[in-house]
């Protein structure tokens, strides 16, 4: 009896979770293809009766053509996110390998230090970085933002990559040593190809963090509209009353879509790459 109740309850719970997680995204899409007058007339409708793509045209067009300039924001976000991924990986891969394999002085403390870094409130870091970037005249530039994103993502990247490197059997690398390869050659020819899935997963994770980040973009880029990323752009425009809600919904779809595409293409890779080691409890 109880078993049957749970059998039914399980499907109810799954359906409930699906509605709760997907409804806001459906609502986002639905509002983005309706004219604003239609929304104000029928606010309770869940169907599109009056389909339009003008909202997308307006949100994407450059500011001097009467649009909201999302194309240039998308470009800025893409530059920042891709640069953060490449640089964070370039820094984290050697670091993670060293922590996983090489017995250097202070190795045990380094991982603790990186974890501790990740526990501190972002806003505590934001104030001195604000002062620092102002002094270096990097505030308002994308380079300054990239620098901050690298520092925020390298510790996580090291953590996930290190877990993966430790699962590669040491005997494979020793075989390379016996064949006369140097340590760096072993990393390049043996360990890196084997760790490729984890490297991809970590790179995607960094991409998502950089693409979605809001606080630092808000503090550092607010004054410089040319360099706005999508987060700060959408947040600022949604605070003004002049831009119609449906146009901003089109903007939301445009900035969410790349993340969803990346995510669905790589979901398995990502979830397995990031929770590797969690099964051991």
């Amino acid at each position: 009896m109880e078993r049957q109740v749970f059998g039914v309850l399980r499907w109810v719970v799954i359906a409930g979770f699906l509605v709760a997680t997907l409804l806001p995204f459906y609502y986002m899409f639905m509002l983005s293809v309706r004219p604003i007058e239609d929304l104000l007339l029928n606010p309770d409708s869940l169907w599109v009766s009056n389909f339009t793509l003008d909202t997308y045209r307006e949100v994407l067009a450059p500011v001097d053509e009467g649009g909201q300039g999302f194309v240039s924001m998308l470009r800025n976000s893409a530059i920042v996110a891709v640069a953060s991924v490449l640089l964070a990986l370039a820094i984290a891969i050697p670091g993670a390998y060293a922590i996983a394999r090489l017995p250097f002085f202070g190795r045990r403390y380094v991982s603790v230090l990186f974890l501790a870094v990740y526990m501190f409130p972002g806003i505590v870091l934001a104030i001195p970085l604000f002062v620092l970037l102002t002094k270096l005249e990097l505030r308002g530039s994308l380079a300054g933002l990239i620098l901050v994103y690298i520092s925020q993502t390298v510790p996580v990247a090291i953590y996930t990559l290190r877990n993966y490197f430790t699962t590669i059997p040491e005997s494979i690398e020793e075989a390379g040593l016996v064949d006369g390869l140097t340590r760096l050659q072993i990393i390049r020819k043996i360990s890196l190809p084997l760790a490729l899935p984890s490297i991809m997963a970590t790179g995607l994770f960094v991409f998502m963090i950089a693409w979605n980040e809001f606080l630092f973009a808000l503090l550092f880029l607010a004054d410089n509209r040319d360099n706005w990323t999508v987060s700060i752009g959408l947040a600022t425009l949604s605070g003004s009353v002049e831009v119609p809600t449906t146009v901003l919904m089109a903007g939301s779809v445009v900035i969410t879509l790349p993340i969803i595409v990346v995510f669905f293409l790589t979901e398995r890779l990502l979830t397995e790459g990031l929770t590797a080691g969690a099964e051991k409890g």
Binding site: L22, A92, P94, A98, P103, P128, N212, T275
Partner: protein
């Protein structure tokens, strides 16, 4: 032919070779870790120490470009922070928000993980969909929530009025406290705070779900089958067989979520801007920095915030150590 003579020599040369190899590895290790160390020291550790210094100096936003590291020290910023009448109320809001959001997140994640535990058609799609709130840009999802909860044309209020017979639209995000009447009793409800907590539950349950699902899928079926054979009901199996095995993961997820929720800024800032009884400590830091333009006071407030976090973490470590359990 040379059966005897090389034998004693071999271990010596091998040991010497191993030692140099280890030393070389150590040198390579330091070389490989140094870019990471440099960037973490320069962009994280030094700024953290610097913010402590800033907290003891008078710095204004306008003059920040000319600020000198060696300007005179003062405790004026801390005096300001501690005499402010909003400090303790925002600390209280932060703690309530952190505890309630974390509990909700872990609970929802646990329920979801148990529900999709066994294979069924479409499981991959369901699992991926449940992770969406966590991976989507925070700016976009907070915007959608704001519009859904909008009192004028938001769908929640429209449907609430039509289906559940609400008298008036509810201003979920701009109302500090509302009255809920139950059997003639008027109960005050912190509407704004509850709404941001609900948002946290929605956005971050996937994190708990992900880790719990990984663990729950790896559980061995034998013990559960044995329990079923012995006549245990599903609830008893969960309580005495599954839950104990999940406790380590639940503990880790709870600790991480507590820390991150305590530090949370984006979600509340984007949903309510800190109004309607949702002014947590991080919002307060931001206001001191940008509205009052007082960099020193903002730094002092942020140092206070980090201090509270450190106290919470050390309490946790002490409790765990006294229990004799593993720390993380």
């Amino acid at each position: 032919m040379t059966t005897v003579s090389p034998a004693p020599a071999a271990p010596v040369t091998e040991r010497a070779k191993v030692r140099t190899l280890t030393q070389e590895d150590a040198r390579t290790g330091l070389l490989l870790i140094s870019p990471t160390l440099v960037i973490v020291l320069a962009i994280v550790v030094v700024p953290l120490l610097w913010s402590v210094l800033l907290a003891f100096q008078e710095v204004r936003l306008i003059t920040v470009g000319r600020h000198s590291l060696f300007s005179p020290l003062t405790i004026e910023n801390f005096r300001r922070v501690f005499t402010s009448d909003v400090l303790w109320s925002s600390l209280r809001t932060t703690l309530i928000y952190t505890a309630a959001s974390t509990a909700l997140t872990v609970l929802l994640g646990l329920i979801a993980a148990l529900a999709v535990r066994r294979p069924f058609p479409g499981r991959t799609f369901v699992r991926a969909s449940m992770l969406l709130p966590y991976v989507a840009p925070v700016v976009a999802v907070t915007f959608v929530w704001k519009i859904m909860l909008n009192p004028e044309f938001g769908i929640i209020n429209e449907w609430g009025q039509r289906l559940f017979g609400w008298d008036d639209p509810i201003a979920f995000l701009s109302q500090r406290s509302g009255e809920l009447s139950v059997f003639g009793l008027e109960i005050p409800v912190p509407v704004g705070l509850l709404t941001v907590i609900a948002f946290e539950g929605w956005r971050y349950f996937p994190f708990a779900f992900l880790f719990l699902l990984a663990r729950v899928s790896a559980l061995s079926a034998d013990v559960e089958e044995a329990a079923t054979v012995d006549g245990a009901t599903p609830l008893q199996t969960f309580r005495y067989v599954i839950l104990p095995q999940l406790m380590p993961v639940i503990a880790v997820v709870t600790v991480l979520r507590t820390i991150w929720t305590f530090n949370e800024f984006d979600d509340i800032f984007l949903l309510t801007g800190g109004a309607a009884g949702t002014q947590v400590l991080s919002i307060r830091v931001y206001e001191l920095l940008t509205v009052q333009q007082n960099v020193g006071a903002a730094a002092a407030q942020s140092v206070f915030m980090a201090g509270v976090l450190l106290v919470l973490i050390s309490i946790y470590f002490n409790v765990m150590r006294r229990r004799g359990g593993e720390v993380l």
